[in-house]
Amino acid sequence: MAPPTDSHAAHAGEPHVLPLSTYWGVFFALVAGTILTVWTATIDLGALNLIVALVIATIKASLVILFFMHVKYSSKLVWIFSAMGFFWVVLMFAFTLMDFYTRSW
């Protein structure tokens, strides 16, 4: 008797196989992102350096999560779980930095 799951497994019987081009595409995007990260780090953008680095890293991470980790093809529950961790780290950052950044106000 099937449980009332809120997900439909991609591989209940037939696995959802991604085309090779997807994997290679993501791979080259990741390599390009790495090169971009190193290059932009050598340019002085002031406060933007950190933001640019984080944006590139986040894009790379998203590619790994969505494609290599198959989250794009997984259930909504897996989506939520994969997002939760990052959201909670951001929360930890935000409230901690809230203290340090406002001390000088």
Binding site: M1, A2, P3, T5, S7, A9, H11, A12, G13, E14, P15, H16, V17, L18, L20, Y23, W24, V26, F27, L30, V31, T34, T37, V38, A41, T42, I43, D44, L45, N49, A53, L54, I56, A57, K60, A61, V64, I65, F67, F68, M69, H70, S74, S75, L77, V78, F81, S82, M84, G85, F86, W88, V89, M92, F93, T96, L97, F100, Y101
Partner: protein
């Protein structure tokens, strides 16, 4: 990684199965789909805990970086970004081979799967070897955080640079530990794959091992720019 129940009266779990034979499901599950979805969700939940685990270190890093930006940039320039960058590429390739090994399981290509697993493990080992050399050079330069730290090398920012290195070693050390666990996991995956445990109908074990491996890669994707490239625009990429 699979959580098959070792019930007192249960038979042992499956070895190689002839094609078309449905693998047995653990006693407390209704069917294979429920079991596999559960195992996948379990690994994702575990990864959430790992995100929080590393996240706390990232928080410490962010706080100290915002307190001592110059010290951090100066200290970061003492790290070898070329080795760090090389390691980043090594891990990215290993994520590719990991994904390929799962795809090989899905498409019933056992030898391709085994090759990719071995490649993944070799790349992981390469990463660790590079890290060993990095650590060794830090040790030789008296940059290990602790009483032996060479404060003078950083001028006015000496003490705070030591904090940078504390964080560097804590974060990369913890990451390296996870990599070691990943290698052991690859060993298990290899053995199971060789036994024919992973078929297109049932490959959850290698899939969730892959999730773990990709996660270790993810952490490094953030670690690399934050630790190695911090001061590149100020001090130039140093050696």
């Amino acid at each position: 990684m699979s959580a098959e129940i070792a019930h007192a009266h249960e038979h042992e779990h499956a070895r190689a199965l002839p094609p078309g034979v449905r693998p047995p499901v653990s006693n407390h599950f209704e069917d294979l789909e429920q079991q596999e979805e559960t195992e996948k969700l379990g690994m994702w939940t575990f990864l959430i805990t790992e995100v929080m685990f590393f996240g706390a270190l990232f928080t410490a890093y962010t706080v100290y970086r915002s307190l001592y930006p110059e010290a951090f940039m100066l200290a970061s320039s003492h790290l070898d970004w070329k080795l760090g960058g090389f390691n980043t590429l090594v891990l990215i390739v290993s994520s590719l081979t990991m994904a390929m090994s799962i795809r090989a399981a899905q498409t019933n290509k056992r030898n391709l799967m085994l090759v990719n697993i071995v490649l993944t493990a070799l790349l992981g080992a390469t990463f660790l070897v590079v890290k060993y050399f990095e650590y060794k050079s830090k040790y030789d330069l008296h940059l290990m955080p602790g009483p032996t730290f060479d404060v003078a090398a950083f001028g006015e920012w000496g003490p705070q640079a030591r904090i940078f290195f504390s964080i560097y070693f804590a974060m990369t050390g913890l990451h390296a530990f996870h990599m070691v666990v990943g290698l052991i996991l690859m060993g298990w995956v290899f053995v199971k794959a060789k036994q024919g445990h992973f078929t297109p109908q049932r490959y959850i074990g290698i899939e969730i091992s892959g999730l773990y491996w990709h996660f270790v890669d993810l952490v490094w994707i953030f670690l690399f720019p934050m630790l190695y490239l911090l001061g590149a625009h100020v001090h130039g990429p140093a050696h």
